[in-house]
Subunit: 352 residues, 2 copies
Amino acid sequence: VRTVKLAVIPGDGIGPEVVAEALKALDAATIGSEVTFEQTPFSLGAARYLATGDVLTDDDLSAIKQHDAILLGAVGGVPGDARLAGANIERGLLLKLRFELDHYVNLRPTTLHPGVTSPLADPGDVDFVVVREGTEGPYVGNGGAIRVGTPAEVANEVSVNTAYGVERVVRYAFAAASARPRKRLTLVHKTNVLVFAGSLWKRTVDAVAAEYPEVAVDYLHVDAATIFLVTDPARFDVIVTDNLFGDILTDLAGAISGGIGLAASGNINPDGRFPSMFEPVHGSAPDIAGKGIADPTAAILSVALLLRHLGRADAAAKVERAVADDLADRGDARRSTAAVGDAIVARIGALD
Amino acid sequence: VRTVKLAVIPGDGIGPEVVAEALKALDAATIGSEVTFEQTPFSLGAARYLATGDVLTDDDLSAIKQHDAILLGAVGGVPGDARLAGANIERGLLLKLRFELDHYVNLRPTTLHPGVTSPLADPGDVDFVVVREGTEGPYVGNGGAIRVGTPAEVANEVSVNTAYGVERVVRYAFAAASARPRKRLTLVHKTNVLVFAGSLWKRTVDAVAAEYPEVAVDYLHVDAATIFLVTDPARFDVIVTDNLFGDILTDLAGAISGGIGLAASGNINPDGRFPSMFEPVHGSAPDIAGKGIADPTAAILSVALLLRHLGRADAAAKVERAVADDLADRGDARRSTAAVGDAIVARIGALD
Ligand SMILES: CC(C)[C@H](C(=O)O)[C@@H](O)C(=O)O
Ligand SMILES: CC(C)[C@H](C(=O)O)[C@@H](O)C(=O)O
């Protein structure tokens, strides 16, 4: 029996509610198997900041690093809460974890499941994955401002891109494309404007492509990519892109495939030097928190990504099968968070 | 009779084809009025570069500056054309004009006209305008790279934002919102990540909002904005945003409202120090060039923006009315570029 040390960060708002269901699904999918999960809860997020003034301490970070993987719900307080004005929970917690734990692959699969309604009239067969770079680009925090608050203010943001950082995520994306039936990879960037970063991304993709002759490669500017995401999303197989473009494209991808209430993600350190972190793409949704109506599906699908990352493809497949079956039968019925979780758990159990 | 000096840049690919129809519409809408257009054609674009090695000379630029307004078709050669590898027509021509002529407002209206099919199942009443900043952000060309082509390469892109630049475009957007029936303004940015630029944009909008108490203001992160553009585009009235986010959002906006074949834009210098430039959002589409099948509607609607900018609201309204009527009756019929242009011109004539 192998023991996996799992750090659990329920977070704020609906985070704890959806994580509770995700953990039930994790149990159900691994019960009786040769893997057990030893869970450590971490109380992090806006609530913790308001209580203690800390967003993420060095001690928190070292404790989290002692784990094999992380499951995160959602973090962030009520928008406009004046007590949070001095803190940036997203940057101080979520992005800090992604950067400190070298989560250079931000994996965001998009599937339009049977039974799920898309806002698109004719979406087609949507099944792609976005490989979003997670540790570079305009997310590095290398901006600055002078003369703040005066008419002469200048505020800069620097997007940093390195051969080291681009090559490793591009390699991951090619390996992913090569392992998929359609074997297609689309680089999304804005090479005609961001010429330095764009050139690095383009040259890197061209170079790695030579090692994957079986993968068909194309390129789209980010603006054109958003067009295809609404006119022909079925054309995509694997998209590789930078941190900011990936952020934008994956929210749009979530929207066309039934909403970010269904979108799971993995912040992955493929080297295994640090624990990878799995989280729904949605936020803490304070407006519906505590009502028991949040959809736990994205959190549960994040558990599937976690299981696959840990080499438990069979258990991952069970979770995904159970979710797909639940979605197919869901219709317009409004169920509570727990009811959705229970239904999926029951289906996982029935798959044994 | 006032004479307007109009610089005409047909450009590459379908550019000349759609510009020809746009000029017919311009004639039809102003014939017999107190304004006449004195047109100077400028041969600029990929074809000119291939012929002469020049993208835009100082002489071209000073000649263009002698005009009251510019109508541009589309520029850009065949993707992958090796002879163009050394040139960046988009940056050297299109962006150079926007920057040199201080086109700080990039105005991109989005209307889903009756009769036009949206890829959205239930788009609702889509009618908004994106006020995209045109002279700052990551478009400034302040990037650079070191150790290019080595494993130690670093490629940076700098987004520059100034109080001067942000305030003037925000003011324009508030004035536009205040003049519209719904009086709503949405700032789109990514303030939780791009904290320096985001803070400048946010503070500027808050400050100017105090002068426009009648305008309802809200804020969306760019990723969330893409979601609303497919789930509830009717919620938008005026969007104000930076150069890059505006680029992305307006292609998406074009896609949900019938395609960028219908999307017009104005690159505006509201100060009137330099000529403003009107162009369809679409590119040169070399794949369909010369076949006479390009849709000239976006170019014709750009003429309407041009007329309104020149204070000819009546003529602008005629063009828009004629286009709307043509779209309403268009159905699935495939007509040639000239047939669409002629139909719209006939309708303009009939409106007299
Ligand atoms: C909360 C925010 C910092 C984050 C991001 O921009 O990456 C979120 O939008 C996401 O996509 O996970
Ligand atoms: C061609 C390109 C430089 C341009 C831009 O990015 O602004 C285009 O996409 C546009 O939106 O007008």
